[in-house]
Structures are given as structure tokens and as C-alpha cells.
Subunit: 638 residues, 2 copies
């Protein structure tokens, strides 16, 4: 099947959140996170770096990936400006863009590190350095800023840079047949193509995708040109860069998870634009490998700290989970691409799983602190001895990719909620709020009344400017096992309407039409495939799209010894004062009586008595918003 980009995401500007779950987070992102990240970029020297004033011998040389942090911040600010005009924020952006524009070299090249620190090394190590990665993020920022403000200066600058890159790289004589060691540029070039309608950018993206992993291997040639042994690099293989094989031949998701998922997203964009069936087939195979064998229940991906990478099927350790925030965001991106070709709830289910759990966990409720790793279990002293980051979100990182990535995602959140095709309008995620779009030529508003994800009742009023025929496709989440649907008060035969997890209502929609979707949300115990060795004998609690965890703050220490009996009743309860308002899950578990042990470390089994203990679980995404302590997603079960 040739992939076609049938379902175009409705721009985020069309959806206005009016709910208690996302609206405050998006607001905090705008009012706290964006200024805080700007300040971090400023005080760490990332902004001033574009002034190109750094000289040999000065402290704090601009790092090879600094440009990308600023770019992601501009992109986030642009999305925010598109929904919330803010002259001060726009002025900050304009000033920053001015510096960026002035940093561009006469030939179009634009990278701070390789202009002031190591100019002689330009384009000499695509494998390990981040020139093309930074270019990609700058392009994304430029496209977003032009769309948000109509100001095209940054877009023009990046167009010139992209043209420069297109002169340097390619299959022509005298060109380098290289490709990004850290993919990102591929998807950015497709955005640039869509923004400018210049086919050359799509062609360049396709070149990078196709060239990857070919023999003779560019990274070998490039290493030898540097006088290095290609075999001598730290990653031990090109799978780290997804360059061990041509992408079309890759059968499992390997290597650095952010690299992998940015690549797959960009390749999906290329395939959608070019109708490349072989490439699409490879991407679906990789998708399946990830979501069916290599993804945490939180939607986290890339389980190993060393190499921030995918490892092997079913290897999903909890305490040492890496599941980098950026990788989880990139999984959202990949799912979002697949959903453009094929309205299949499998993609939206994963997108939702990652978004509500492993992505949202990346930022604190206060909007000022971030996780790089998203562990699924924590025992605070352990992290220190295992050389992992502490179980407390940090204000910033030396390698600061995650904070602005969260910011740009939240600033553009509405983008992921719906999409449109010639046939109609698809709703992927549910939140209270208003979607305003047009179907054909007819303005249509959809008002959503729901407490999702806390409650599964979604009331939807469809208000076209005049009666208009279209198919409304409503996602029936994979976690929901007893959905019901009413149209204007009349129950519909849902099973007959559902295809691939979406209920399709094709009709003449008239002002005042009402749809009511019931998505019952019982508390569920989830178990993992027997191959997931750390989860054997354990369950995760899930309610609706939210995966839950237990924390020391509620359940005391030694969470590993807490056992949830199969028959224990679990009750969901709205707690307005807990963490700003959450539905918690409570029940009675049991644990061994520790007192009986005294100073004994090992003893014959069977002597222990158990005592009842309160189990209270909160949404995983909200953990570590109280005082530091133990946490656990997978709870022992009987």
C-alpha cells in the first residue's frame, strides 16, 4: 500500500483547551517554562554564543548542540505566540533571531561551534557531531516562527542554510554522500518543503534517508579522512546511529532512541510525501518492534542508560529505565506521522500512552524542573551509586535537549488532538475545549465537555455554520472495553461503526447536533508479556489513559515488598487537594512484618507474617512532585 498523507493534523491554534488537566499545564508552560528556559539559555551563554564573540582561550566554548536548544526554545515560543500573542515574548524572539541571522556565514553556513571554536572541522564528522542536527532544529524554529508571526526572516536565513547543505551533500560530483549522525534534519526539511513548496528540500530529506547505512559506509570514509580507525569509536557499532543497515533493511529498532525516532519520523514524512511503499513497510515493521516489544507501559522508550538506547526485545528494567523525555516525545512524533496515512487507533493509543505518562512525567507541575530519564521505579540512594541522575527533576542540564522539547510539545499540544481529510474530521484525543475548523468551506466548531482523563464521559456539540455532510471519526481508545455512543440522545450500534478503533459517523451535521461518548474507566491491573523479566509477577495500575504509580509519600518505604492481592478492591477517587487535583487509586495491600526480622538478613521462607497496608496510587506523570522518595509503577501482585 502506497502511503498517502490523507489525514492532515489540524493546527494547534484551532483547539482551545478549557479543561482542568491540560489547560493549566499549557498555561504553566507559557508563563513559567518559556521564561525559565530563556533565562537558562541566556545565563549558560547559549544566546550570546550567536554573537560569535567567543575566542580561543575564552572559557565556556559554545557546545556543538547549543544551537539546537535555542532553536527549540524559539519553536516553542512561536507555537505559544500563535495562540497567545505576547509582544514581549515576540521581541525576545526577534532579538534572538537577529543574532542568529547575523551568525550566518557568507556561504550560508550557520553553526556557532563550527564557526568560532573549530572552524577547520566543519562537516568532518557527521557521525558524532551535531551540525546537521542543529540545522534541523533551526529550520523547525524558522517554519514555526513564520507560521506564527508571518515574519519570514529566520525562514529565509534557514532557507539559505538548507541550500548550502544541499550544495555540500548529495550524490552529485564533488558532493559528500553523508547524512546526519543525529537524525532530525530529515523531518525538518520536509517541514521546510511544506512551508516553501520547494521540492529540493524534500529531495534532500529523501537523499539523507536513502543514503543512510549504504556501503561503502560514509562514516568509515569520513573517519579515515580524519586519520582515525573507523572501528575505534565508543558506540561499538553503527547501530547506535541507525546506520548499520539501510533503513529499508532494518527490522528492529536499534541504537540511540531519540536518533531512531527522529529518523523514523522524518522518513515517514518522506514516505508520505513520495508515496514510498518500501520505506513505509520498513517503518511499520520498526513501529511494531518498538510498541510490541520495546516500549514501557508509560510509553517510554530506550531502556539503557549507556547509549540512551534500545537494547533487545522485552528488556525493560524499571529502576534503571532510561526512557529519555526526548525519546518519548519522539515516539509521539512517529505515531503522529503514521496516523496521517492510516486512521488506526493503534497509533493514537501509543501517542496517548506516551503523552499522558512518559512525556508529561518529564516536567514538574511547577513547570520549572525536568526529568531527562523517566525511571519506572526509584529507591533514592540507588541512583547515586548507579551513577544515574537523582530522582528529583532538575532545572536544566549540560545537555539540555529535554526541557525545550517538552516546552515545544506543550505549546503545540492541540496539534495532536484532531486531523482532517477530504472525507472528514478525526478526533484522536479528548479534552474539554473548543475546536474551530472548516470542513470544505464551512466553518465548524466542536465543543467538548469532559473531565477526561479523570472521567470518560465526553459530550460533544457540533456547530457547523450551516448543515454540512462529513464523517466524524471518534477514536475509541484501546484501553476502553465498553464504550457507548449516542447521537442526539439516541444510542448507536458502536460495533458497526468502528473500524480500526475509530467510530465513523458520516452524516449531514447540523448546528446543535450532540454526540455523547461514554468511555468507562475502571481501574485496571495490567500485566506485561512474560518476556519482560522485571515485570513478571507484577501489575501496573491503569485507569483510562493514565498509568499509575505508588510513592513513598503515600505508601511508606520498601515499596518492593508491598503485594496487591488479586481480590483487593481498588477505588478511584477525586482528590481536589492532592497534587492540584487528581483521581487517586486506593486499596488494601499487604506487606511483610519487618519487625520480626530484626538483624536477620536471610532465613527460611514461610515464617513471615503479613500486615495490611494502604496502597494509594497517583498518576505516574505526577510523581516526584512531593518530597523525594521511593516510587514504583509495577507492583507485586498475587
Amino acid at each position: 500500500m502506497k502511503p498517502q498523507r490523507q489525514w492532515i493534523p489540524t493546527p494547534h491554534t484551532r483547539f482551545r483547551f478549557e479543561d482542568t488537566f491540560w489547560k493549566p499545564r499549557v498555561e504553566t508552560n507559557r508563563t513559567v517554562t518559556l521564561p525559565a528556559e530563556y533565562e537558562q539559555c541566556r545565563k549558560t551563554g547559549r544566546l550570546d554564543a550567536f554573537k560569535l564573540e567567543w575566542k580561543q582561550g575564552d572559557p565556556n566554548p559554545p557546545h556543538i548542540f547549543w544551537d539546537s536548544d535555542v532553536a527549540k526554545w524559539i519553536e516553542a515560543a512561536a507555537y505559544s505566540l500563535a495562540t497567545h500573542p505576547d509582544p514581549e515574548l515576540e521581541a525576545l524572539c526577534d532579538r534572538t533571531i537577529d543574532w542568529i541571522a547575523r551568525a550566518q556565514q557568507p556561504d550560508g553556513y550557520l553553526n556557532v561551534h563550527f564557526t568560532v571554536v573549530e572552524p577547520e572541522k566543519r562537516w568532518t564528522n557527521l557521525r558524532d557531531w551535531h551540525e546537521l542536527y542543529c540545522a534541523g532544529h533551526l529550520i523547525e524554529a524558522a517554519v514555526a516562527y513564520a507560521q506564527a508571526t508571518g515574519k519570514r526572516r529566520l525562514l529565509e536565513v534557514l532557507g539559505r542554510y538548507a541550500d548550502h547543505i544541499a550544495r555540500v551533500f548529495g550524490a552529485g560530483p564533488g558532493q559528500k554522500r553523508g547524512y546526519p549522525g543525529h537524525p532530525e534534519l530529515e523531518l525538518a526539511l520536509v517541514k521546510l518543503y511544506r512551508a516553501t513548496n520547494e521540492r529540493k528540500y524534500l529531495d534532500l530529506a529523501k537523499f539523507f534517508v536513502d543514503e543512510r547505512g549504504r556501503q561503502p559506509h560514509y562514516y568509515d570514509l569520513e573517519a579515515r579522512a580524519r586519520g582515525e580507525d573507523p572501528a575505534g569509536h565508543w558506540t561499538g557499532g553503527y547501530d547506535y546511529y541507525q546506520a548499520h543497515l539501510p533503513l529499508r533493511e532494518q527490522k528492529t529498532a536499534e541504537g540511540h532512541a531519540v536518533r531512531a525516532l527522529y529518523l523514523f519520523s522524518g522518513a515517514a514524512d518522506v514516505a508520505l510525501e513520495t508515496g514510498d511503499e518500501g520505506l513505509w513497510k520498513a517503518l511499520l515493521r520498526l513501529w511494531k518492534n518498538i510498541v510490541r516489544r520495546r516500549m514501557y507501559v508509560t510509553g517510554g522508550v530506550g531502556s539503557a542508560r549507556h547509549g540512551e538506547r534500545f537494547t533487545f526485545d522485552y528488556d525493560l528494567p524499571n529502576e534503571t529505565a532510561y526512557a529519555e523525555t526526548c525519546a518519548n516525545i519522539a515516539l509521539v512524533f512517529f505515531a503522529h506521522r503514521l496516523l496521517q496515512a492510516d486512521l488506526n487507533a493503534e497509533y493514537a493509543d501509543v501517542l496517548e500512552r506516551a503523552l499522558y505518562n512518559g512525556v508529561l512525567s518529564g516536567v514538574s507541575k511547577d513547570g520549572r524542573h525536568f526529568f531527562y530519564e523517566n525511571y519506572l521505579a526509584a529507591c533514592p540512594p540507588f541512583e547515586r551509586f548507579a551513577r544515574m541522575n537523582p530522582v528529583v527533576r532538575q532545572e536544566w542540564f549540560g545537555c539540555a535537549c529535554c526541557p525545550p522539547n517538552v516546552a515545544r510539545l506543550l505549546a503545540s499540544l492541540g496539534l495532536y488532538f484532531s486531523s482532517q481529510s477530504a472525507a472528514g474530521l478525526a478526533i484522536h484525543l479528548y479534552a474539554g475545549g473548543r475546536l474551530e475548523t472548516t470542513v470544505g468551506e464551512v466553518p465548524v466548531a466542536l465543543d467538548f465537555q469532559t473531565d477526561y482523563p479523570w472521567d470518560g464521559t465526553v459530550r460533544l456539540e457540533v456547530s457547523p455554520a450551516k448543515t454540512v455532510r462529513f464523517a466524524l471519526a471518534l477514536r475509541i481508545p484501546g484501553w476502553c472495553r465498553a464504550a457507548k455512543l449516542k447521537l442526539n440522545g439516541t444510542a448507536l450500534p458502536l460495533a458497526k461503526l468502528v473500524a480500526n478503533g475509530y467510530a465513523h459517523l458520516e452524516r449531514d451535521w447540523a448546528p446543535g447536533d450532540r454526540v455523547e461518548l461514554e468511555l468507562p474507566m475502571p481501574v485496571e491491573r495490567i500485566e506485561a508479556h512474560p518476556g519482560v523479566r522485571e515485570d513478571c509477577g507484577r501489575v501496573a495500575l491503569q485507569r483510562g489513559p493514565l498509568v499509575y504509580c505508588i510513592e513513598e509519600a503515600d505508601c511508606g518505604r520498601n515499596l518492593a515488598d508491598l503485594v496487591l492481592p488479586a481480590k483487593a478492591k481498588l477505588t478511584a477517587k477525586w482528590e481536589p487537594k492532592l497534587l492540584g487535583g487528581v483521581v487517586s487509586i486506593a486499596g488494601t495491600a499487604k506487606r511483610r512484618e519487618e519487625k520480626q526480622w530484626g538483624e536477620t538478613l536471610y532465613r527460611p521462607a514461610g515464617r513471615s507474617t503479613f500486615r495490611p497496608t494502604r496502597l494509594k496510587a497517583i498518576p505516574y506523570a505526577l510523581w516526584a512532585n512531593r518530597k523525594p522518595g521511593e516510587m514504583r509503577v509495577w507492583v507485586r501482585a498475587e
Copy 2:
């Protein structure tokens, strides 16, 4: 209580193994391991290094700890020569000793690296470099070789080196108040003291022990003298070196486990020789912290790979267990010291636990392959991604401390089986064989008939040259809950005879007296303290002193999903053809039916059906002697 060295270990030469468990291992050690390790030392340049021919610019510079590898090999060879004279082996030793002697500098200094590679750095970084550590191992070798062969050349060389060290280090004017960054020399100096009766060596050992961790901190002063910031070292604190506090003030076992246990062993030797009550009290506190909160069920210690160190109470992860072979051996050494003051089976229980499990696992049955880490669970691809050593024993290591450490332990194994005091003779461990010693002036032989550890019946014939009165103290192992004792066919009231885990039989022993000890060995399920988070809900199988494990070779893959029901009957069975003859443990466990899962990764709990599955366990020490695969000590239990 002032510590006194009441119970002197009977030399290993007095016990002749005639059993099926240890005798073949000791023989393999002598005939395979010793030659193989000599060859490794030779081909890696460790032997030739003593010729001091290395010049700047040459490849393969002698490493700072190479001297110690050769020293431990000589020590092992000496123990072997003492029981099995072997002119060829002795000639190899003599030739090596000749090189070592010639490498000694005119002032007595003796260290290859700091003679040929960095002579200007002699004694400038006690914290990180291994000069004093190497000196300790050379002294141990010298003492052992003199005792085995009567040849005193190496002892004289090392006496001169010790005298040099005593001139450089001390509290006197112009002396350095430093101490080993890697303890070892302390216990070696006490050996040298005992071998030479020169009090100055004991005094120097005591100086090193007392000086450790004092302020102003020697490692601070020394770092500043090198022009370095003392705070800038990689370990992040002096606890790594057990130098964060004076030893007497240390309450928990911290830092690098081998360093810690060599230090505690050496300090115990000092305390035993000097009657130092405060030091002894501190050591007992550290002992308790280790064996009651920080020791694997295998007797392994030092759970963290990073820093090869102790971490925090109850932190005993299985797949990432470090439990270095050397650390487990050093725990045997420490226990053996404590046992000299106090005939308390707690010490011998730990000694036995480590020896039969976490130490013996360090060497393959073929005697040619070694583990550095002793994991308690393994899933082969995991080690690669976690940057751990593979789950296959290696022939050698760049840092090769473990192989010759195992060799010297096995070559002197008899040393740990019994000890003697003015009051009598104590038997700590049981094996078929013959102990020949003297009590007072009277030669006494004890013949042990037993299949220990496969069977718990121990028949002992006491054969004094003439009737002689002494107390025979027989250890009743802590794992045994129903021991019985007969003397000349008559049952004795064991409870009345036992104090601190030893049954004391004081009487006139006459030729032909027979003792029969019954130590029933049912298969036991062991559980760990609720604080050991990885072992919650799991049991280890133990029979007698042997901890068991399950392996993929017997039980298939996904061992984590195998569950042992509480009521499942477990049967021990002698299998002469398995791994050279072992008692295996078999029973019926269950595991989830994997087929039902297909490509599902997560699903609601409660749908799984279980299928019966064979559980077969083998002694942990013998794992990884078949083809590589999964392994697990702690098995899920219901």
C-alpha cells in the same frame, strides 16, 4: 573484651583432602590453573617486567598493579609446593624470584612501574596508585615461599623493602604520614612480623591502620603537593578508600569492597596481636553491618559495579551484582581473623557461605576461566548493553586480581578447615580427608569420612598417638536445624554441648574414638529481609552450605517468569553425570503460557493461564559451566 589470638589456624599442609568436592578442584588448581596463570603472566609481560628493561616509548608499559599479580601467583605456587613438591614449579618460582630480587633498588625500593615508567612519581599518590598494595602482595608471597621451601631469599628482599617503607612512612620527623589507598600491606606486615618476629613490622601495620582517615587528611595534603584539587577525584569521597573517617569511628562498611575487607582483615590482625579492644569493637560493628545488611546470599559483597563498592543497607541487586571474586575471598579472610579470637559459628557460617558459593563461582570447573563479577541473575544480552562483563568466565583480565586470588585460596584451602588453641582443636568445615596435627606434644590424626557438602553425615575417627585430653570443638553449621552427634555409637545431648554454634567435646581421646555428626540437609527455601527490594516475593534454594540457582540449560528461557509454589515438593538427587557429579534439586514450578500473548506487550491481568514447568537447580558455584544462558538465584515464589 580484649581480642586475643586464641585459635591459631592449623596450616593447610596438615589437611589432606580425600573427597569428591574439593580434592578435584584443588588438583585442577595445581595442575591447570597455576600453569595457565603463569603463562598469562608471561605472555602479558608481567614476568619480564621485573627485568626492568622497559624504556620510554616502548609499548606495553608495566602497569601499577602488575607486581601484585605475579606475587599472588608465587604465593599460590608456594602453598602448592608445600603440599605437592614439584621441582619444575619450584624452579619457575626461583627464576621469577631472582628477577624480583634484581629489580630491588639500592635503597630497598621494589616496584616495577615506579622504577621504569614513572620513577619521579614514587610515593606521590598513595590514594590512587598501588605501590603499597603491591608491596603487601610481595610480602605475602615471600612469607609463603619461605614457609613452603625454606628458601629465604625473597623474604630477605621483602624485609629490606619493608624496612625502606618503614623509613619513608611513620610519625617521625621527615616521614610521610600516609597509608595505602588500597589496603593489603597491613595484613601482609602482620604476616611478616609473625614470620620474622620483628615487632617493627607489626608497628608499621598498626601505624597504617591508626593513621587512616585522620585530619589533616593525608590524601588532601598529597593531592595539593601534586598541584591537584583534592575534591576533584573521580570517587567523589574518601569513603571509597575507607579513609573518610578513622577506622575506629566507621560504623558501616563503605567504599571499594576489596579495599574494605583487606583493611578490616589487616586491622583484625593488628588488634589480635596488640589486644586493641577499641579497634576490635569497630571491626565487629563493621562485620555486622556487612553480614546482616550488605551481603548476598552467596556470600558475595560489594554490590555496585561503579566503584566495585558497598552501597547502602539491603541494596543487593541481582542482575547487576558486582560481588567481585576478590571481595568474596576477602570476606573469607576477615571471617577467618574473627574466628581466631572467638570460636563463634557466625564467622564460620559466613566463611563457609562465601567459600562454597561466591568464591568458588569465581573459577570454572576446568580451572582455566574466571569470573570477576559474580552476578546472581543473568540474561545474556543484558550484560552487553549494561556494559558489564559477559556471563562467560574469561581466561584473564587487564586488571587480573581475581584469577591468582582464587589460585592462592584453593592452594591453601586446608587452612580454613580447623584451628587449634591451648584448649583444643576446632573443626570449622567438613570434607572427607585426613587432618594430622599435634595436641600438646601428642600427634593426633583425624580421619573424616563424609560426602559433604552433598551429604550431611560426617564420620570422624580420632587417632592420637596415645590417649590425650583435649576439647574437640565441632562446628554445627548455622544452616542446620536438626544436628545429631554420637560418640562411639552413643547419642550425645547436643544442646548441652553447644556454645556459639560449636559442640565442645572435652575428654581423654584414645586411638579409635569415633564421632558421628549428622547434619540433615533438607532443601530449604530462603527468603531475604523485606528491605532487599529485588528479592521480595522470591526465594533462594539452599541445601547444606550450597546456594542453588536455575539455569537456562535446565529450565529454558524467561527464568523470571518461573514461579515456585509454596507446596511444590523439591527433591535432591545425586546426578553423577551432571557437571562432574552434583546433587541437583528438582521440582515442578509453573510459568505463564507465552503462546497466548502473541505480539501483545501489555494486557489486563488475570487472563494468563499457567503451565507446569520443570524446575531444576544446580549449585550456584557451578553455573556457567555449560553453554551461556540465563541464570537466576532468587526464584519467584508463591
